[in-house]
């Protein structure tokens, strides 16, 4: 049951991810990206990591993708972009070469990977539950967790500074 579900969601994820790349319309790309996040959340649930699944939906599908869509709606997704892309043969060749190289790198990296096999006898299936996650974050990984929080704060302040209206600047 779990295995067939995994293969179903895995193929769905790959299909959606491919559709993100090959969609002509950027809005379709964003919608397929949202679907990809959903299928990834399904994988998290299969791994019994419900908190991660929910947070993945809230943060990526619920907030960041809304902003993506927000920006794309302002850009006129007209045919000009597509035309220039069709004519440029050099760009296509460069894209193919770069993609092929990336594929080679991924294959080379995956070749030597050894998958960890957790011992079913000692493995704690509740490790992804929100209580355990919280405990680990606030004890074992306290310092990295707080550093990430500070990093977020800094980037937030930076974003506000960039977005702030300068004195005398007219935006409307």
């Amino acid at each position: 049951m779990t295995e067939s579900l995994f293969f179903f969601f895995a193929s769905l994820t790959l299909l959606c991810a491919v559709m993100v790349v090959i969609s002509k319309n950027p809005v379709y790309s964003v919608i397929f990206l949202i679907l990809t996040f959903f299928t990834i959340s399904a994988h998290y649930i299969l791994l019994n990591a419900q908190f991660l699944a929910a947070v993945n939906i809230i943060v990526y599908a619920g907030a960041i993708m809304v902003l993506f869509l927000f920006v794309l709606m302002f850009i006129n997704t007209g045919k000009n972009m597509e035309d220039t892309m069709k004519k440029n043969v050099l760009a296509k060749i460069a894209g193919t070469v770069a993609g092929g190289l990336l594929f080679t790198v991924v294959v080379a990296a995956l070749k030597d990977v050894t998958l960890g096999h957790p011992d079913p006898a000692t493995f704690n299936s509740q490790v992804g539950m929100v209580e355990n996650l919280g405990k680990v974050l606030f004890t074992k990984y306290m310092l990295p967790f707080q550093l990430v929080a500070v990093l977020f704060l800094v980037s937030m302040v930076g974003a506000v500074m960039i977005g702030k209206r300068e004195a005398g600047e007219q935006n409307f």
């Binding site: 809005v27 947070v55 809230i58 599908a61 809304v66 709606m73």
Partner: protein, 353 residues
């Protein structure tokens, strides 16, 4: 999970789905009746006794209207928009505990569709997806006014989601659990969260109005500026779906508020009532059924409040809306977290130390 529980869950999910649709249908009727009462009118009174069949007549009218799709619109997304809005709205009531457990014979039945330990995050995630229906529909209409409505909806939802999440954190600090069932159980009797979280509730309430696009936050569809906002180009049942999704959202948000802050299915002296029966099973079942009634009474009270506000308060200006969200509600919510944390520490200091 044995097959009895599985069948029961299936029936229960269908029942909850049906009930949320029914309540949403009749919300339209009560909205018009309440509006009429507030404005000293009669309201719908032609279809059936007291106009009770009015929602059916409205739905019938919407079904028979012309299905119009603008010529330059993106057809797929134009049809997808209302579908997403409706789907997302109907998904969110799954984790709400409408009652305690019913004991029939040997088995006990939980009156909750799916008891996940991340219940509140599930609702939060689903609610945050609701904006896609509006955005996609507004963009696909290929109309500047629809696009403006969609953009407004998106920025409003994102802004108020932050304050909503922050006000939720204070509740979670008190309960120590993300499961709505556990949060409901902790508020047994009259020990409701509203006594500990008045400020948090106020923030949550305001954000709930903004998230459901209700007046005074209905700027995405403000007719004076944007014709109809994101649903300008929609007609027939597709328009009906958008309006219907809004009422389902109101129902769900009311249920969430009742669960988080007003004790869900708990009511005062429920333990006394439970102990008054000699048979513990009978006592439990009576209290549970009364609890369901109480839960729905609370939900209806909130739905009434939503309508009352709609016909009382005027709409915000757009910059006022953004200022309220970012400059007032978010700092207040952070202050509320600090106060709650301080309160918990003080309580532990005096009770344990």
């Amino acid at each position: 999970m044995d097959s009895v529980v599985l069948i029961y869950k299936g029936i229960y999910i269908l029942a909850i789905f049906g009930i949320s649709l029914l309540i949403a249908t009749y919300s339209t009727y009560f909205e018009r009746k309440i509006a009429a009462f507030i404005q000293d009118r009669v309201g719908p009174n032609r279809a059936g006794p007291m106009g009770l069949l009015q929602p059916l007549a409205d739905a019938g009218k919407l079904f028979f209207k012309e299905e119009f799709i603008p010529a330059k619109a993106n057809k797929t997304l134009f049809i997808l928009g209302p579908g997403i809005a409706m789907l997302v709205a109907a998904m969110s009531s799954a984790v709400i505990p409408f009652g305690d457990t019913l004991i029939l014979g040997e088995t006990s039945f939980d009156l909750i569709a799916i008891d996940v330990n991340i219940g509140i995050l599930y609702i939060f995630g689903v609610v945050s997806l609701g904006v896609y229906g509006l955005m996609i529909g507004g963009w696909a209409s290929n109309n500047k006014f629809s696009l403006l409505g969609a953009i407004r909806a998106a920025s409003q939802n994102i802004s108020y989601e932050l304050a909503m999440g922050l006000s939720l954190i204070a509740v979670l600090m008190l309960s120590g659990s993300l499961s709505l069932k556990v949060i409901a159980e902790q508020q047994a009797g009259f020990n409701w969260n509203i006594w500990y979280q008045p400020l948090g509730f106020l923030i949550f309430l305001i954000c709930a109005f903004a998230e459901t696009n209700r007046t005074p936050f209905d700027l995405p569809e403000s007719e004076a500026e944007l014709i109809g906002g994101y649903h300008t180009e929609y007609s027939s049942m597709k328009l009906g779906m958008y309006l219907f999704a809004e009422y389902i959202n109101i129902f769900v948000v009311s249920a969430v508020m009742a669960t988080l802050y007003f004790g869900a299915y708990n009511f005062p002296f429920m333990e006394n009532l439970r102990n008054a029966f000699d048979d513990p099973v009978l006592g439990n079942n009576v209290v549970t059924i009364l609890g369901v009634v109480v839960m729905f009474a609370k939900i209806f009270a909130f739905i009434f409040f939503f309508m009352w506000v709609r016909w009382t308060l005027p709409r915000f200006r757009y910059d006022q809306l953004m200022k309220l969200g970012w400059n007032i509600l978010i700092p207040l919510a952070i202050l509320n977290i600090l106060l709650t944390g301080g309160g918990i520490l003080l309580y532990e200091y005096f009770t344990k130390g």
